[in-house]
């Protein structure tokens, strides 16, 4: 039980950390024209490494955090993130350890989908039609940053995830 709690605590902490870095640390660098989306990387990597269920729960937690702190309509981000976690979990069958090309591709696809979702429901809805402009100036820079960041942090997440799985296995053994 103790280990399970530890597992949950570590996961929650990771989400909080990613959120704080994204909202408090990145904006301190005025020369960054776009910020990488750490939460998104976190959700899709854990979905990809550990399957649909884990991805969905991760998406749920991160989405709730974003919704509750953004002041917008409740559930907007949650809705997208649970589907993203779930969808990336499906790809888990193609998962090999130390295989980086697929995570990078996933990162780009997720990022594009996420930004399209925001564009559709918060900008196109209000009649902002210059999609190409937003694509070039907002979506693509953020995607590039996110893919590069994925390259840097994916292995870290992988290591953390492995540690957590080990913890869980040890727990199962002790029960048996």
């Amino acid at each position: 039980m103790n280990r399970l709690l530890k597992n949950i605590a570590v996961n929650l902490l990771l989400i909080l950390l990613a959120f704080t870095v994204q909202t408090c640390v990145f904006p301190l660098f005025p020369f960054l024209s776009a910020y990488p989306n750490l939460l998104l990387i976190l959700i899709f990597s854990f979905g990809f490494i550990r399957g649909s269920q884990a991805g969905m729960i991760y998406g749920l937690l991160a989405g709730l955090l974003m919704d509750l702190s953004s002041g917008g309509p409740m559930g907007f981000y949650t809705l997208f993130f649970i589907w993203m976690g779930y969808a990336n979990g499906i790809c888990t069958r193609y998962y090999y350890e130390d295989y980086i090309t697929l995570p990078l591709t996933l990162s780009a696809v997720n990022e594009l989908a996420y930004n399209l979702y925001i564009y559709l429901f918060s900008f196109l809805f209000r009649g902002r039609l210059h999609f190409i402009y937003y694509l070039v100036n907002i979506i693509l820079p953020e995607t590039v940053f996110t893919v590069v960041t994925t390259l840097l942090v994916y292995r870290l997440f992988l290591a953390i995830s492995r540690r957590l799985v080990e913890l869980q296995k040890r727990r199962e053994k002790t029960i048996v």
Binding site: F19, Y35, N37, Q53, G71, P73
Partner: protein, 280 residues
């Protein structure tokens, strides 16, 4: 595996319902938001303080060179300003006399303000929304105006116990009712993500004959429902008659506040009292 699918659809349905509900009225969620604020705000404050200190340290070295050059330039400017000051002081006496005449002196720039620090920004690059470290406990209320550098920054859209969310006037969905200071002709200042990348806001809803020219000071208007009158927004530029209908004018506003390096802001604690709502 099957359970996960049901779970997914159940959650999606729930989310969609919540989006619908909270778009109409989100206030029933305030206790939950406050609870999250209690956990999150101290962390954000801490990270912000540490990160800011580190960054400032690094930035200071870079700024030293700049400062030396600035020093030279500013010394020259002081001489100029001293001269100007003497002239203006003379004019101030005149102004005060005139103000007393018109009993206008209480109206402008006598608002009560409290300072607040920006502790977090929005997660992505789409919105210009930020969070400050003062909330309802410090007397912040929804719709209070936020200023910095002498110019309008935004409006409080959401208040928690220890934090408040501010939507800046550069946000894509921001609309401020404004007027040209010296002519009093009204217009609207609209935030636009596309324009802000160029450092500008859109200025529109002007009639062809309105007296608004390039370089005019654009301030918040008397008829705005939420913004207090007479707060500087910025300066008009490229005002031109629309050649499509030849009836209206549009232009741009260069904002007075420096949005890319905002750290502290002032919240005006006076609320615009637009009087009782009109019923037909």
């Amino acid at each position: 595996m099957k359970n996960t699918k049901y779970f997914l659809f159940g959650l999606s349905a729930l989310c969609i319902c919540m989006i619908g509900l909270t778009t109409i009225d989100g206030s029933f969620l305030n206790p939950v938001r406050d609870a999250v604020g209690y956990v999150l705000v101290p962390i954000q404050k801490g990270v912000n303080a540490v990160g800011g200190a580190l960054y400032n340290e690094v930035a200071e070295f870079g700024m030293l060179k700049e400062a030396l050059a600035d020093n030279e330039r500013l010394k020259a400017q002081i001489d100029e300003l001293v001269e100007e000051n003497t002239r203006l002081r003379a004019e101030t006496f005149e102004l005060e006399r005139l103000r007393e005449l018109y009993e206008l002196d209480k109206q402008y720039m006598q608002y009560n303000k409290i300072g607040a620090r920006i502790i977090a920004k929005d997660t992505g690059n789409w919105f210009s929304v930020f969070r400050i470290d003062k909330g309802s406990d410090d007397g912040i209320k929804k719709d209070m105006n936020v200023i910095a550098d002498g110019g309008l920054v935004g409006i409080v859209t959401d208040v928690g116990i220890n934090y408040a969310t501010v939507r800046s006037i550069i946000d894509d969905s921001s609309q401020v009712s404004a007027m040209a200071q010296q002519s009093g002709d009204t217009c609207m200042v609209l935030g636009d993500l596309k324009l802000f990348k160029e450092g500008r806001l859109a200025l529109s809803y002007m009639e062809k004959d309105d007296d608004i020219k390039d370089g005019d000071m654009i301030v918040t208007s008397n008829i705005s429902g939420k913004f207090l009158p007479g707060i500087l927004i910025g300066y008009a530029t490229e005002v031109a008659v629309d050649y499509e209908d030849n009836l209206t004018k549009t232009g741009y506003v260069i904002p007075a506040a420096q949005f890319d390096r905002l750290q502290e802001v002032l919240v005006i604690t006076d609320l615009k009292d637009a009087g009782p709502e009109l019923y037909e």
